[in-house]
């Protein structure tokens, strides 16, 4: 998986450089952004949230419901897409490195263990995700990076915004064997 990433990254970088050198910085942004936006997941929080960035590890801990409060003490509410939607499984895989089923089992386990105050919330669409985050000061969710607006705050992950080529939460082309493997 690391080789693939590196390849893609290289290709994108080369393309960006070529584009930058040929057509100038003004036209370079969309050219650089486009392939990244199509695939990156932007992690969003309420704009009043004091946190500006997380490490992937911290993000994974939050989504895995291991961290349940923000540094300011406010309870963290994780917002996912609805069960059965590809964006839910995708996000769980990207962030938590788990299949959806593994994630559900983990949540059930947490619930039984009693460490879980409240489980993740499910939202039907990206736009609803955006509005949910806008209304809930302690919530955290995600939307495809091309749907981000200024109603929410986009967190840096590992210090990088989704436009960054090295942004960790970038979706890969779906692999059927992987899926089959997941089902297994």
């Amino acid at each position: 998986m690391g080789t693939d990433l590196g390849l893609v990254r290289n290709v994108a970088l080369v393309a960006a450089l070529v584009c930058w050198s040929t057509i100038g910085p003004a036209a370079a942004a969309p050219a650089l952004q486009a392939p990244a936006a199509a695939e990156a997941l932007a992690v969003i929080v309420h704009r009043s949230n004091p946190v500006d960035g997380l490490t992937l590890r911290e993000l994974r801990q939050i989504f895995m419901l291991d961290t349940q409060t923000w540094p300011n003490g406010r309870k963290i509410t994780v917002v996912l897409r609805e069960k059965g939607q590809p964006e839910r499984g995708e996000a769980i895989r990207l962030i938590c490195g788990l299949s959806e089923a593994q994630f559900e089992r983990h949540v059930l386990f947490q619930t039984f263990r009693g460490t879980l105050v409240s489980g993740p919330r499910s939202i039907l669409s990206a736009s609803a995700m955006l509005r949910f985050i806008f209304n809930a000061p302690g919530a955290i969710g995600y939307v495809p990076s091309d749907q981000v607006d200024d109603t929410t705050k986009v967190l840096r992950i590992d210090g990088m915004l989704p436009l960054d080529p090295r942004y960790p939460l970038r979706r890969r082309a779906p692999r059927p064997d992987a899926d089959a493997h997941d089902r297994r």
């Binding site: 509410t77 939202i123 039907l124 209304n135 809930a136 000061p137």
Partner: protein
């Protein structure tokens, strides 16, 4: 008079400007009121809009604010994040709506209320913070916290919002009330103005109508005034109007002109002081005071004297009317200047007097003339009369007859003139006497007999049985009229006959109206000339070359005489038909009783056959014979009646020889005489008709016109009937009636011819006469001898008859003589003068023998 047109235009201009001003004011007021009404209506609708908008807005605010909280709380009841999110979003939207309402409300709300809106906005923001927190808590599944938060801070803040909203609403409502109040006040003002406008418009209309009416009335009045004024000015006489105190209030130009004062000076002064002289003021004041109180009473005309400004006075006639104008009584006096009138009156009076004097002079002249003419004429006629009795040759006799007739004609003319002047002067006095109408008519026919015979005219009369035999009237005047009519008839008739018909109608007790109709068969008179007939000195040109003659006085005198006699004279005539003059006079019953013909019925039983013509002569014979009682058979020539048959016996035949001429009568007579062995024949014929040989055996011939006595006598003689001669009044035949010593007569006459005539007449009567040529001689003679009768001419040179008579009366007291005046002065009053002078009577010249005999006979018998 004030010139009317100027004041009219001035008044019109003033009224027009006044009216225009009022109309402009009303229009301006109308504009203001319209603007007000419009404004208030606009205000009201705007106010309504604003208020309803504001109230809606506040309601929306309240509702939406509730919704924000309510919807949010729905999210508590679900665990689905999507639903929770949806509710949260809805709540947020509602909150945004609230905010929008608040923002828009700021534009709508009035300033005072806007403050409250600001409070609402602030509190709403406070609440929204809580709401956002609550939303977050809900979405983050911290439901208890969310509820707790909402219960604690959310409720409080929301209540704040609600309170603020309530305040806002209260403020808005109070503000709205103020605005409504203001709008109502404004509407009230508009209403008042509208009312004012309507009232003023009505007033304007009323004033306009009033002005128009007043204009029409004023113009009508001015027209009437101008008309009346022009009438007033057109009158040439002064007209002055005064009030009840007599102060002049109006007058016309004629008054200014007449009295010489100007209108300006005269107005206000008292009428009496200006034009009434002092001496008649009192009279006029009384006259004024006696005026009846009723309005419009016409003042009777008062003749008085007026004074001009320069003091001259002149006669006037005042006529006044009074009428009441409101409380004032106005006199209008019409003053007629009578100066010219008086002058005309005076002139008229003088002219009348002059005319009367001239007329008197004329009458005097006529009387004098006739007197002067009659005196010599008496002599002429007297001498002619005497000559007729003398032995003369045949030619001399003819000459004397002509002389006599000419003199008579002349005397007739003179008498006519005298009569006329006497009638005109009203000096004709009637002397009624008792007389026989039949004799009168026969006498009247006499003078025209000869003329009629010359022309071959038949004359006849018929007296109706109703006519009394004797009547009482002025015989001379009746005869005069009759003679005139007959002579006219003869004069203007050439062929045919002249018939007199007498009738009578009772007219009250003892009197009758005698109608005498004189009908001729002459040329006739056209109807349009009838009126002229009776005017004096008029002679109609009846036919070209027709007879003329006379003074033209005859019919005029006759007409006046017939009126004097209590009757009329009228004519009925047409050319070619002849004329009928109808003379009516009033007659009294004769005092001496004999009202029937004394010979009536005297020939009863005598059988007479009369052969007559169809004319009046036949009628006369028939009527006479019928009256006398004969058994009469009348055979009218050319009629169908046959001659009497042979076996009839008759005592006499009366034949109209002129009708039965040419052998026809002879033949008839022959037949009749063949019947009776000796049948006496009485023939009647005209004076000059040729003797009819065939009738010679008859022997008895009577001339036309037939006198009743002659016919009666002839019939008596023919039939041997005794005649009652005693009853017939035959005139005494002239002759020596007196013994020569029976009366001592003194004749006093200055005119030799007349004295000679009277002397001869007296001598004819068998009397011896002493003569005196004047008054002095008469007195001398009277002293020397006792006279039984003195005939005294009145007008004599020296001592006239009247003075002589007085003297003789004084001297001869022992055995006073009868003094009779001889005078041609037959004017009224002469007789009185004679009587006053002591005379016993008078004899009118020309003296006639018969008159003289009739007067002297009783004196002689007295003496014997």
């Amino acid at each position: 008079m004030t010139p009317a047109p100027v004041s009219v235009s001035r008044v019109r201009g003033r009224e027009l400007s006044l009216l225009a001003g009022v109309v402009v004011a009303v229009l301006a007021l109308g504009w203001i009121v319209a603007r007000d009404v419009r404004q208030s209506a606009d205000d009201a609708s705007q106010l309504y809009e604003r208020l309803s908008h504001g109230l809606n807005l506040i309601d929306d605010l309240q509702f939406n604010a509730q919704e924000v909280r309510r919807i949010l709380l729905y999210a508590l009841h679900t665990s689905d994040a999507n639903l929770q999110l949806q509710y949260a979003e809805q709540s947020r939207a509602a909150a945004a709506q609230v905010q929008t309402l608040i923002d828009s409300g700021a534009a709508v709300m009035p300033a005072r209320t806007r403050r409250y809106l600001g409070v609402v906005g602030q509190r709403w923001q406070h609440y929204l913070v809580v709401r956002d927190d609550v939303t977050g808590l809900i979405l983050e599944r911290s439901l208890p916290e969310a509820v707790a938060l909402d219960q604690s801070r959310g409720t409080a803040r929301f209540n704040d919002v609600r309170q603020a909203l309530a305040d806002l609403k209260a403020s808005f409502e109070s503000d709205a009330a103020t605005q409504v109040e203001y709008a109502r006040a404004r509407a009230d003002r508009a209403t008042w103005r509208l009312t004012l406008l309507v009232v003023s418009a009505l007033l304007t209309a009323a004033v306009g109508i009033y002005l128009i009416n007043r204009r029409a009335a004023l113009e009508g009045l001015l027209r009437i005034e101008a008309h009346k004024g022009s009438i007033l000015q057109a009158v040439p006489d002064p007209i002055v109007s005064t009030d009840a105190e007599g102060r002049i209030v109006e007058l016309n130009e004629a008054a200014e002109r007449t009295f010489g004062f100007s209108r300006a000076d005269a107005l206000g002064t008292r009428l009496e002081e200006v034009i009434v002289p002092e001496r008649v003021r009192a009279v006029l004041t009384v006259a004024f005071a006696r005026m009846p109180e009723a309005p419009r009473t016409v003042w009777p005309r008062i003749e008085t004297i007026a004074r001009r400004l320069d003091g001259t006075q002149f006669p006037v006639e005042l006529a006044a009317v009074t009428h009441t104008v409101g409380p004032d009584r106005i006199w209008t006096v019409h003053i007629a200047d009578m100066t010219a009138w008086r002058q005309a009156e005076e002139q008229l009076r003088r002219a009348k007097e002059a005319a009367e004097a001239a007329d008197r002079a004329k009458s005097e002249f006529l009387a004098t003339m006739s007197h002067e003419l009659r005196t010599p004429l008496s002599g002429v006629i007297g001498i002619a009369d005497l000559l007729q009795n003398a032995r003369l040759t045949a030619s001399q006799t003819d000459l004397v007859r002509m002389l006599r007739s000419s003199a008579s004609a002349l005397l007739g003319l003179v008498s006519d003139i005298l009569d006329y002047s006497r009638v005109e002067a009203g000096q004709m006095n009637l002397i009624p006497v008792s007389f026989s109408i039949q004799s009168l008519i026969e006498d009247a026919l006499d003078p025209v007999t000869e003329a009629a015979a010359r022309k071959g005219l038949d004359l006849g009369y018929v007296i109706g049985p109703e006519v009394p035999a004797l009547v009482l009237a002025d015989q001379d005047r009746v005869r005069q009229v009759l003679l005139n009519l007959l002579s006219n008839a003869v004069k203007f008739t050439e062929t045919g006959e002249i018939a007199v018909h007498v009738g009578a109608t009772a007219a009250g007790a003892g009197s009758a109206l005698i109608t005498v109709r004189v009908r001729d068969s002459g040329s006739g008179i056209p109807a349009h000339l009838h009126d002229q007939l009776f005017q004096r000195f008029t002679q109609l040109q009846r036919s070209p070359g027709g007879p003329r003659g006379g003074a033209g006085l005859g019919l005029a005198i006759s007409e006046r005489l017939s009126r004097l006699l209590g009757g009329t004279l009228s004519v009925d005539s047409a050319p070619g038909v002849g004329s009928t003059f109808t003379f009516v006079f009033a007659a009294g019953a004769a005092p001496s009783g004999e009202s029937t013909d004394p010979v009536a019925g005297s020939l009863a039983g005598v059988r007479v056959v009369a052969l007559v013509g169809p004319g009046v002569v036949g009628d006369q014979i028939r009527s006479l014979l019928a009256r006398w009682g004969t058994r009469l058979r009348v055979v009218v020539r050319n009629s169908d009646a046959p001659l009497p048959a042979g076996d009839e016996a008759f005592d006499a035949v009366v034949v109209d020889g002129d009708a039965w001429d040419g052998g026809l009568g002879a033949l008839a007579l022959h037949e009749l005489t063949a019947l009776g062995a000796h049948l006496p024949v009485v023939m009647i014929r005209r004076l000059r008709s040729s003797p009819v040989r065939e009738f010679e055996p008859a022997g008895l011939v009577i001339a036309k016109p037939v006198r009743a006595s002659a016919l009666h006598e002839a019939l008596c003689a023919a039939t041997g009937v005794a005649r009652p001669t005693a009853d017939l009044k035959m005139p005494s035949p002239p002759g020596e009636l007196f013994a020569s010593d029976s009366l001592a007569v003194l004749l006093v006459e200055d005119n030799d011819a007349n004295r000679r005539v009277v002397q001869l007449m007296l001598e004819d009567l068998g009397l011896k006469v002493d003569e005196a040529a004047d008054g002095f001689q008469a007195i001398e003679r009277a002293r020397s001898r006792q006279y039984d009768v003195i005939l005294m001419d009145v007008q004599m040179p020296g001592l006239d008859g009247l003075q002589a008579a007085r003297r003789i009366r004084v001297e001869q007291r022992v055995k006073p003589p009868i003094i009779l005046a001889l005078t041609a002065n037959v004017m009224e009053g002469d007789e009185a003068k004679c009587r006053e002078a002591g005379m016993d009577g008078y004899l009118s010249k020309p003296l006639r023998l018969e008159t003289l005999a009739a007067v002297l006979a009783p004196l002689a018998s007295q003496k014997s």
